[in-house]
């Protein structure tokens, strides 16, 4: 292969054109830098400052030695895992049903499923408050039907928070799973059926392996969103559910402790990074195992 001698003038033109196209991104990049990157860097800076503005590692000592921090961390992970588990349990069968419906029907039902996605999180949270409170609709139905003698504590606690979060995440989880299932060639199912597979076997050996990528994407989305959730625990938790986000807000607003709030923020970032690395590793592992997936 001979090395191509590039005409300097033409090379300069090529660079100029590239710079022009790069420049088109600059305004957007600038504003993202200003309003997203800079704030994150500022949190890091703030975490090393005392209230007086001097350099310290005291914030870290204080936050990391506090039992409240660790219980907040545990609550955050519990809420994320709980939401993820229920999303998989509820979302996967629903995606299967929607993917096997006729296209017109599926589109219509998808519109309904997506409706909550378009509704304000505050509207939905309010709806759950109304439904789940002691005198609410759900408890009325439960006691009215005699299933429980006493109204159940469904809101202003962990359960309420979890329900609100599941409701928020389910459509977001559903989208990639539905897309993956919709993309499965119907002939594959027919082929499996012609070879004698039962419906259960087809789902286990064809449908689920082929939609694993979608389920994985959906799970990533659920995790990334839920670890930073603020509105839902703040309203439906009733002060009793305190994940990291709530601790951050309380440390900042109630105690005016900017340094500790920043340390908690960094903890949240680290948690995100950890989960990100875990998911990347898992994806690599999945890709490697694809070769041997025939026995799934």
């Amino acid at each position: 292969m001979t090395v191509t001698a590039v005409d300097p003038g033409l090379a300069a033109d090529a660079r100029r054109e590239r710079r022009f196209f790069l420049a088109l991104s600059l305004p957007a990049l600038f504003i993202v830098g200003l309003a997203a990157m800079l704030p994150i860097l500022w949190i890091i800076r703030q975490s090393f400052l005392t209230t007086g503005g001097e350099y310290t590692v005291g914030n870290y000592e204080k936050v990391l030695s506090s039992g409240l921090t660790w219980s907040a961390l545990i609550t955050t992970v519990e809420l994320s895992l709980g939401t993820l588990a229920v999303c998989i349990l509820l979302g996967t069968p629903l995606a299967l049903a929607l993917a096997s419906a006729r296209p017109r029907m599926a589109n219509l039902l998808m519109a309904f499923v997506m409706l909550p996605l378009w509704t304000s999180i505050l509207v939905r949270t309010y709806g759950w408050l109304v439904l789940l409170r002691r005198e609410g609709l759900v408890n009325a139905a439960l006691t009215g039907s005699g299933l429980t003698a006493e109204p159940l504590p469904l809101v202003y606690n962990f359960t309420g928070t979890l329900i609100g979060m599941i409701h928020y995440m389910l459509p977001l989880f559903l989208l990639p799973v539905y897309a993956a299932m919709r993309d499965i060639d119907a002939n594959l199912v027919r082929a499996a059926a012609s070879m004698g597979a039962t419906l259960g076997q087809v789902i286990r050996t064809v449908v689920l392996p082929l939609s694993a990528g979608g389920i994985f994407s959906g799970s990533t989305i659920v995790f990334i969103y839920t670890i930073g959730f603020f509105i839902t625990p703040a309203v439906l938790g009733g002060g009793k559910v305190n994940p990291l986000s709530i601790r951050i807000e309380r440390t900042l607003s109630t105690f005016q402790d900017w340094g500790s709030a920043s340390v908690l923020g960094i903890l949240l970032l680290v948690l995100m990074a950890l989960i990100g690395v875990m998911f990347l590793a898992a994806r690599r592992l999945m890709a490697r195992n694809k070769v041997g997936a025939a026995h799934a």
């Binding site: 909550p116 509207v123 309010y126 709806g127 419906l199 930073g228």
Partner: protein, 263 residues
């Protein structure tokens, strides 16, 4: 997909029954609010004993709520006006550059959508506090623009990828410069995507609450911030009225976008 098993009716009934329950779970909180908003009493009884427009009057008659609504609408409009053109330029840039440069730009622009809102909110609060800008419309605006850019990019990027770039080449060969080709050939043909991106950027701002909670204050408080404060204190049926209005608007907007896309 499962039509290869026409005889397996039990499985079908179970699957659809389960799905119906899950869909009911998804719809319920949005729908339950509607009748409550027309109730006479403030006890949130269901079904309401008598109907009235009391809570709507309460909302439209309140100076605080109206100020919040006004702020939110102004903010949403400004957000869309700033974010969508910026996103369009960035998407053209990514589309033309391709390769690693495009992936890098995309990574940076989409990053704010996965960073927890609470982090953006307190970070922005610190930065704005250092400049003495907490509580200003500008502070909330930049926060919302940053969140709206990824949303607009997600609409515009695939639209540009589907676009027949031969047309731009044709326009160029016929004598058009870059700006003329973008304004005369690309934008008119992508106006539906453009409209979608604008509406979604607007909704993103309208719906955003966490940044507003930390950064907006006083007469610049947005509607979601006021709703949040009100929800934390007590369950006021005025929120049911706002929620109903909100849902109605969103449904209409989504209907317009999907219908226009079809035609």
């Amino acid at each position: 997909m499962l039509e290869a098993y026409p005889d397996n009716r039990l499985a079908r009934i179970l699957l659809w029954g389960f799905s119906a329950l899950v869909m009911a779970f998804l719809m319920l909180p949005t729908l339950v609010v509607v009748p409550l908003s027309f109730s006479v009493s403030d006890l949130l009884e269901f079904p309401p004993r008598a109907y009235s427009l009391r809570w709507y009057e309460n909302f439209f008659g309140s100076a605080t709520w109206m100020a919040g609504l006004r702020t939110s609408l102004i903010l949403g409009t400004l957000t869309a006006m700033v974010a969508v053109p910026l996103a369009l330029l960035a998407c053209i840039s990514m589309n033309r550059l391709g390769g690693k440069a495009a992936s890098a730009i995309q990574g940076v622009l989409l990053a704010p959508s996965i960073v927890p809102g609470i982090l953006l909110a307190i970070g922005l609060f610190f930065v704005l506090a250092a400049q003495g800008l907490v509580g200003t419309l500008f502070g909330v605006l930049v926060g919302h623009v940053v969140l709206a850019i990824p949303v607009a990019c997600i609409v515009l990027l695939p639209a540009l990828a589907r676009f027949d770039w031969n047309q731009v080449q044709a326009a160029r060969s016929l004598g058009a410069g870059w700006a003329t080709a973008v304004g005369g050939i690309i934008v008119p043909q992508l106006r539906i995507s453009f409209l979608s991106a604008t509406l979604m950027a607007f909704l993103t701002s309208l719906d955003e609450s966490v940044i507003s909670i930390f950064v907006a204050s006083g007469h610049n408080s947005t509607l979601p911030k006021l709703m949040f404060l009100s929800l934390r204190d007590q369950i006021d049926p005025t929120i049911a009225a706002i929620s109903t209005l909100w849902t109605a608007i969103v449904v209409v907007v989504v209907l317009i976008v999907t219908l226009r896309q079809k035609s």
